[in-house]
């Protein structure tokens, strides 16, 4: 089983629209994982049925039992996150600042502090319109540990792919270069980088590729809206050559991206023009590169 991870560094480059199109083209043979758990949008195009759902617990939150508290202040003293302010004479844990390190509970002389497991979100296994399955998640507001939820979504998708003997799992990865995207990348067979020829698109591509290099994963790149700035497109193409990244395709600026999404469809369903052909060619090229 091969795992293809689609990432972009920068948001708004068309990553999810393209991942959904590939999932549609792959049909029954492809398991889908939406690892952009922080702003998960794949479900808007895939019509999942939310067949199975489960809570996801990760990390802890300190809780001070006010009845037992003797107000010694030890907890506040050791907390490096300023998470225990004194409110109306009481030591109260600020849930948004608490990192769940548990140090306060360890130093409390009368054991008035307990740590509670944190429910940080939900994850789902769904049947989707391609006839295949999708693993996706919804992260709770302000939740930490989205990297762990990403890891969970990925490992579930992998298990299903193996059980169902599917050849490919396609993963909509997380933005940025931090913990969630590190989780998205681990174990990938091939990375598809989606970028756009803007100064910021190129900047973020270079940064996220530095991370991909650390993982030593083979990569390919799609330049979306290539005709918006042909000078930057040329620079990106040069960069791809230098770094030995497969140049998968240049896609034109096309508002069909938005129209398809507004219709709840993938681009390859909605559009019957040149764009559909280019995306289909891209998918075939990706499959060849993986094998």
């Amino acid at each position: 089983m091969k795992e293809i991870v689609v990432i972009s560094g920068k948001g708004g480059t068309g990553k999810t629209s393209l991942t959904a199109s590939f999932a549609y083209l792959g049909g029954k043979d492809v398991i889908v994982a939406d690892c952009d758990v922080d702003a998960a949008d794949m479900h808007l195009l895939m019509q999942p049925d939310f067949a199975d759902e489960d809570d996801f617990y990760s990390g802890e939150l300190a809780h001070i039992n006010q009845y037992d508290c003797i107000q010694c202040g030890k907890c506040k003293e050791v907390c490096r996150f300023d998470a225990i302010p004194i409110i109306k004479g009481k030591y109260i844990v600020d849930p948004l600042s608490c990192e769940g390190c548990g140090y306060c509970a360890r130093v409390c002389p009368i054991d008035a502090i307990t740590n509670k497991d944190l429910n940080v979100g939900k994850w789902y296994i769904s049947n989707i319109k391609t006839g295949s399955m999708m693993v996706h998640a919804k992260l709770g507001i302000g939740a930490d540990n989205s990297g762990k939820l990403v890891a969970k979504v990925k490992s579930e998708a992998k298990d299903i792919a193996e059980e169902e003997r599917k050849d490919i799992a396609i993963v909509d990865g997380s933005p940025g270069v931090g913990c969630p995207v590190v989780s998205s990348l681990s174990g990938a067979s091939f990375v598809v980088l989606v970028t756009e020829p803007s100064v910021s698109g190129y900047h973020d591509l270079k940064r996220v590729y530095e991370l991909v290099k650390k993982f030593n994963i083979k990569a390919g790149c799609i330049i979306n809206k290539y005709d918006i700035n042909k000078k930057v497109t040329a620079e990106i193409v040069e960069f791809l050559k230098k770094e030995n990244i497969v140049h998968i395709a240049n896609l034109p600026y096309d508002e069909d991206f938005t129209r398809a999404m507004t219709n709840g469809q993938t681009i390859v369903e909605y559009s019957d023009n040149h764009l559909k052909d280019l995306i289909t060619d891209s998918w075939n090229k990706i499959k060849r590169s993986v094998n």
Binding site: L96, I141, S146, S200, K225, I228
Partner: protein, 288 residues
């Protein structure tokens, strides 16, 4: 006055709005723009200014010293993040997992895990006339954005008082880095686009801001594309729509070149003008 510019979805135009608004306001006021999207900081690509200061930023992590260690295993036991592990006769520290709580270090009976600084990123401060620009950039391989965002806030608080309009370009999403970037703001501007993805992620961002009990308004970018559902949602929820930035290929092209759009597109300037009135009004409230 602190204004955070945020969005659920990435790529909706946070950086476009932050840089254009900051430069526009700086025509008449003292402004500091801070890029808190430390994983992928982009604002600097649109701001021309001279470097004032550059500082490496560190987080504190434990370092094992074998001499006095009695291998009691307490450090491993107290670390909730699996960042300290005892392996045979060795203690191993994984700095990228460490949250810097100091528990292993301070609860070690033989003081064998002193905390040492480890570089996690770089802060740069630039200036051009009325406009100050500060960005922090996380080193590749560092996984945690929050400690760097915290230190950047600290720098801003030390350097700039209430006379500055302080604008923060926040990371995308709704998880911990966004909370850290927005929790001290007086006002939040949520940037979205009128598409199903934009609406879905806007709803998450609105929930987050309600949870934080923040006052906020919405800017719709690429207005004219997609459908009217975002506008309908804002009406229904009585959320103030502060500005509509038109959808145009010309704007996308200017953006791609790293140029400020309000200088060349009068409609954008007019929208920023509207926002200025609101901001100056809020400013008076806050200073009171």
């Amino acid at each position: 006055m602190k204004i955070a510019i945020a969005s659920g979805k990435g790529g909706t135009g946070k950086t476009t709005l932050s840089t254009n608004l900051a430069s526009f306001l700086a025509e008449e006021h003292e402004v500091v723009l801070t890029d808190l999207d430390v994983e992928e900081p982009n604002s600097g690509l649109f701001i021309e200014a001279d470097l004032v200061r550059e500082k490496d930023k560190f987080k504190m992590v434990p370092e094992w010293s074998a001499d006095e260690c009695i291998l009691c295993g307490n450090c491993q036991k107290v670390c909730n993040f699996h960042a300290v592990i005892q392996l045979g006769e060795m203690i191993m520290v994984f700095p990228e997992l460490c949250h810097g709580c100091y528990a292993c270090s301070e609860l070690c009976p033989t003081s064998s895990l002193p905390m040492i600084p480890k570089k996690m990123g770089v802060l740069k401060h630039f200036r051009n006339g009325n406009l100050n620009f500060v960005e922090s950039r996380l080193d590749i391989g560092e996984e945690q954005a929050v400690p760097l965002i915290k230190q950047t806030h600290k720098y801003i608080d030390q350097q700039f008082d209430d006379n500055f309009i302080r604008i923060f370009d926040s990371p995308p999403g709704t998880s911990c880095p966004v909370i850290e970037a927005t929790k001290d703001a007086d006002y939040i501007i949520l940037v979205t686009e009128p598409t199903p993805f934009g609406l879905h992620d806007l709803k998450l961002a609105v929930e987050t801001m309600k949870e934080l009990k923040k006052e906020f308004g919405v800017v719709i970018n690429r207005f004219g594309i997609g459908n009217d559902d975002v506008l309908a949602y804002c009406n229904e929820e009585q959320i103030k729509v502060l500005a509509k930035i038109p959808n145009s290929r010309r704007i996308a092209e200017l953006y791609s070149q790293g140029r400020l759009i309000y200088k060349e597109i009068p409609e954008v300037r007019a929208e920023l003008e509207k926002m200025k009135d609101l901001i100056m009004g809020k400013m008076k409230e806050v200073v009171k």
